[in-house]
């Protein structure tokens, strides 16, 4: 009983830290977008797009082929991509779960939808039926998840013959943070992004994000990972409903390519030491 309460107390502090990280990420990206409303973008490190690590992937092939980056991107994209790859080499998709502002926006929108539909009464670790967000049927879920890998492949191929980054006109990060909603397409992207995020938690991350697809492989090779203590796990299933990526049977899939290392499973677990973070 004592170890249970100690574990839950620690959980609360970890949850708060993650929320703080996500708020800082959102505010920081909003400020970058706001700063780029001013004239003379080149004096501030380039266009808004040059502050995106995905831009590094989008402009990599053209840079290797011609020595020139795509328009609106520059070498700063590579520096940020190196930062994200560094995190991923150590801790898998921790960037997705802790730092990505698009993921943070989705989590807050899903939280808002849940509150608006009475979800604030949901008990942690319980499979209470919520109106919003809903879960996609297991029949379609695996197929939809593979879409993001297809999008990544298309983006990389398309980057060799485009002038601008291929995803630029339908990028939810631009729609959310750049304050440049001049094109109707980008406004549509913003509306769709908000609706899908409220209807299904982390919809973009699970099904469409090419950055997540690129980082998925690191979950299999990163030395810092979640591990299960088979002896103490009671297979109670409390962690399953809390997984924001809707991974089924979480204890058996701690190294899933879909895991964003958010530590929700560890935080929900009431048996101290059943799920741990291990290095090496």
């Amino acid at each position: 009983m004592n170890s249970k309460s100690t574990n839950l107390e620690k959980s609360k502090s970890s949850l708060k830290v993650r929320t703080i990280f996500q708020v800082l990420s959102l505010v920081g990206t909003f400020l970058i977008g706001l700063r780029h409303l001013m004239p003379g973008e080149s004096s501030r490190g380039g266009a808004f797009d040059s502050f995106c690590p995905l831009g590094g992937i989008e402009t990599l092939l053209p840079y290797l082929q011609t020595g020139q980056t795509l328009k609106t991107t520059n070498l700063l994209n590579f520096a940020l991509l190196i930062g994200v790859v560094g995190v991923s080499l150590l801790a898998g998709r921790a960037f997705c779960g802790w730092i990505c502002p698009v993921g943070a926006a989705q989590e807050f929108l899903a939280g808002l939808a849940s509150r608006l539909t009475g979800g604030n009464k949901k008990r942690r670790g319980k499979t209470d039926r919520l109106i919003l967000p809903i879960k996609i049927s297991q029949k379609f879920d695996p197929w939809l998840r593979s879409l993001k890998y297809l999008i990544l492949a298309v983006v990389i191929l398309a980057s060799t013959w485009t002038i601008y980054p291929p995803l630029r006109e339908i990028c939810p990060a631009r729609a959310l943070f750049s304050f440049q909603l001049s094109a109707p397409l980008l406004i549509s992207v913003l509306v769709v992004f908000i609706i899908t995020s409220m209807v299904n938690r982390l919809f973009w991350c699970k099904y469409l994000c090419p950055m997540g697809a690129a980082l998925a492989i690191f979950n299999k090779i990163s030395p810092m990972r979640l591990v299960l203590n088979q002896d103490s796990c009671t297979a109670c299933g409390r962690c399953d409903p809390e997984c924001p990526m809707d991974i089924q049977n979480v204890p058996e899939n701690l190294r899933s390519a879909e895991c964003i290392q958010c530590l929700e499973c560890l935080e929900t677990c009431t048996v101290h030491g059943s799920i741990q973070i291990q290095l090496g």
């Binding site: 409303l37 001013m38 080149s42 520096a79 995190v87």
Partner: protein
């Protein structure tokens, strides 16, 4: 080696900073503009200027 959940976010953010700085040190800094026309009206620029001056 076990990592405490409290230490996890610090390790993640420190790694991100270290590798990003490494990327910058390797020379991946904006060498050419990569800029574009912002396409905003003078009023929008004025509103943004007032906001940025007040924060």
């Amino acid at each position: 080696m076990k990592i405490k959940p409290d230490q996890y976010p610090l390790i993640v953010i420190a790694t991100l900073v270290i590798f990003t700085v490494l990327g910058l040190a390797l020379g991946f800094v904006p060498s050419r503009g990569g800029s574009e026309e912002h396409g905003l009206t003078p009023t929008q620029v004025e509103v943004a200027s007032v906001y940025l001056n007040n924060i």
